[in-house]
Structures are given as C-alpha cells and as structure tokens.
C-alpha cells in the first residue's frame, strides 16, 4: 500500500481518498480526488499503459456520498448509469459534482466527473439509506 496504511472503515479498492469541497448539507455535493500515479492498480491496468479502471470512478462517487452522509447508513443498490467519456490517468485530479434526489428510502445521486482535460464520466447511483439487517 502506498499510504501510511491508516486503518479503513471498510474494504475499499484503493487508498485514493475523496474529500468533500462543499460544506456539509449543501447541494450540489462537490468533491475531489487526486489520482495517485503510484497506486498499485496501475501496474495491472494496464502494463505499459496505466489508465484508471472506470469502476474506480464509481468508487469515488460512492465515497463522496458516504462522506456527505457522514456516517448515516448507505447501501449501494443500483448503478443506474455510467457513461465513460475519456480515460483518467495518474496525476489527474478528478472533480465531482453530485445532484441529489430522494424517493422513500432511496437516495439518487447524479454525478458529473471532470479533470483539467474536460468531462470524464457521468454516473448515476441509487443508495438505500436505511439500515439493513
């Protein structure tokens, strides 16, 4: 692991950590993550051509939602849509803007992700926000 290996609250594909850049409770949610060129994933995706796996962008939106919910329960139930527009490379900073909508216990997030080169993905997720037993 590339970090100082602080303990994580749950299993996660990467130590790259999203941070919120908008105040708590404010919508749209804004967040960003620095894509670490030294992350171990790049050795295997792909040898000689390191490009971030698209699913890592799903992880980043999920992380942003969990931060925004600040410990409230959230189970990822549906990936409604992921549209990948452009590859993301090590060294990029991914900026995330998320609009929220609610229906019963479901929280829908509609995220636009961009780097300095432009839009990289549109991702829509649905989380269940009640505790599952």
């Amino acid at each position: 692991m590339t970090s100082g290996a602080a303990a994580t609250e749950r299993a996660t594909p990467t130590r790259m950590a999203v941070r919120l850049t908008s105040p708590a409770g404010v919508e749209p949610v804004r967040a960003e993550v620095a894509v670490d060129a030294g992350d171990p994933v790049f050795a295997g995706h792909y040898p000689g051509f390191p490009v971030l796996p698209g699913v890592y962008l799903v992880e980043f939106v999920d992380q942003a939602m969990r931060l925004w919910l600040d410990g409230a329960p959230a189970t990822l139930l549906v990936v409604e849509r992921c549209r990948f527009l452009r590859p993301v490379y090590g060294g990029d900073t991914v900026e995330i803007e998320i609009n929220l909508s609610r229906a019963d216990r479901a929280l829908r997030s509609s995220a636009s992700l961009r780097t300095a080169d432009g839009a990289v993905a549109d991702i829509r997720l649905r989380h269940d926000t009640e505790v599952r037993t």
């Binding site: 994580t8 295997g44 051509f49 990822l76 139930l77 549906v78 990936v79 990948f84």
Partner: protein, 170 residues
C-alpha cells in the same frame, strides 16, 4: 471446461492486482461465457480494514465485483481475437454500464460465478449483459454493458505522467 490463468492472461491485458477472473468454466464464443472468481481476505481491498470494524466492513467492494464481471465480459468479447497487450493492439474501454442491480453482499470465502451473454456486436463495439451468482443466488445483475476496443494511438495517453512517475521512482 476448466480454463485457468494462462489462457485468461493470453486473452485480456488485465494483470495483478486487478486481474479479477480466476477461471473460465464455459465459453461459447460469440455467445456466452461463465467464469469464477474466489473472494479472499488476502486481497488488497482488505489490507487496511480496521481491527475493530464490524463484519459488514468486509463486504467485497461493489466496484471490484463489477470490474470482475466486466473482465469476464471482455474475455467473451475478445475470446477468439485475444488482446493481451494493449501496447501491441487495442485497449478495452468501458463505454457505458447501465442498470446494474446489487442484490446482496459477498464476503471472503465466497466463490462467485459470472455469467455473460453477448447481446449485440457491431465492429469493435460489443453490448453485453449478465449476472453474478453466489451459492446459486443472484448477487449482481448487469443489464447493459457497452465495451469498445479502441486503437491505443487514438488516445492522448499517460506518457507524460508516466515519465513523471518514473522520475519519482514509483
């Protein structure tokens, strides 16, 4: 049928630590494929989980489960035209994944089975769908995965950042 790592690595470019298909148990080229993945506590995803974390913290990350299914989909799409080295050929890029339903978590010790079908293939673009089962129960449904093979020379590429990374010694 029991096809292992050697043929898998001869077919797709994904490598450790993100090669997430262990074995192919059925393949009908151009039509369907079934593959296995064992989830184990020795995977990097579990390296730093806190000592006092609850059992639920050990749910296998959904993005990795999706990646694993998608690798099974890539295996099917290129089974007869292997593409094990992106620098020598084309790069697999997920164009879109829509309508994925997560039915249940899986934990270390689980063997999951990915089932993939080709819905449509047009030139270098394939549309695939399928599901993942664990103990016969569906845990993931993927209804629309668009996979595109793109000539690597058409991409801007990470060259400049790679050089920086090399200078930094990583």
């Amino acid at each position: 049928m029991n096809i292992g790592q050697r043929r898998i690595k001869q077919t797709i470019p994904h490598r450790f630590p993100i090669l997430l298909v262990d074995r192919v148990v059925e393949v009908v080229p151009g039509e369907r494929l079934r593959a296995l993945k064992a989830v184990t506590g020795a995977e990097p995803a579990y390296a730093d989980v806190a000592q006092d974390a609850p059992e639920s913290a050990y749910a296998y990350p959904v993005p990795l489960l999706i990646e694993s299914w998608a690798q099974a989909a890539v295996l099917l799409a290129v089974w007869e035209t292997p593409n094990p080295d992106v620098l020598a050929g084309k790069v697999e890029l997920a164009g879109a994944i829509n309508d994925i339903r997560v039915h249940a978590p899986v934990f270390p010790g689980s063997m999951v089975e990915h089932q993939v079908e080709i819905v449509k293939a047009i030139g270098d673009t394939s549309i695939l769908a399928g599901r993942t089962l664990c103990g016969g129960e569906p845990i993931l449904e993927v209804n629309h995965f668009v996979l595109a093979l793109r000539d690597i020379s058409l991409l801007a590429g990470p060259e400049s950042r790679t050089e920086e990374a090399q200078r930094a010694g990583v």
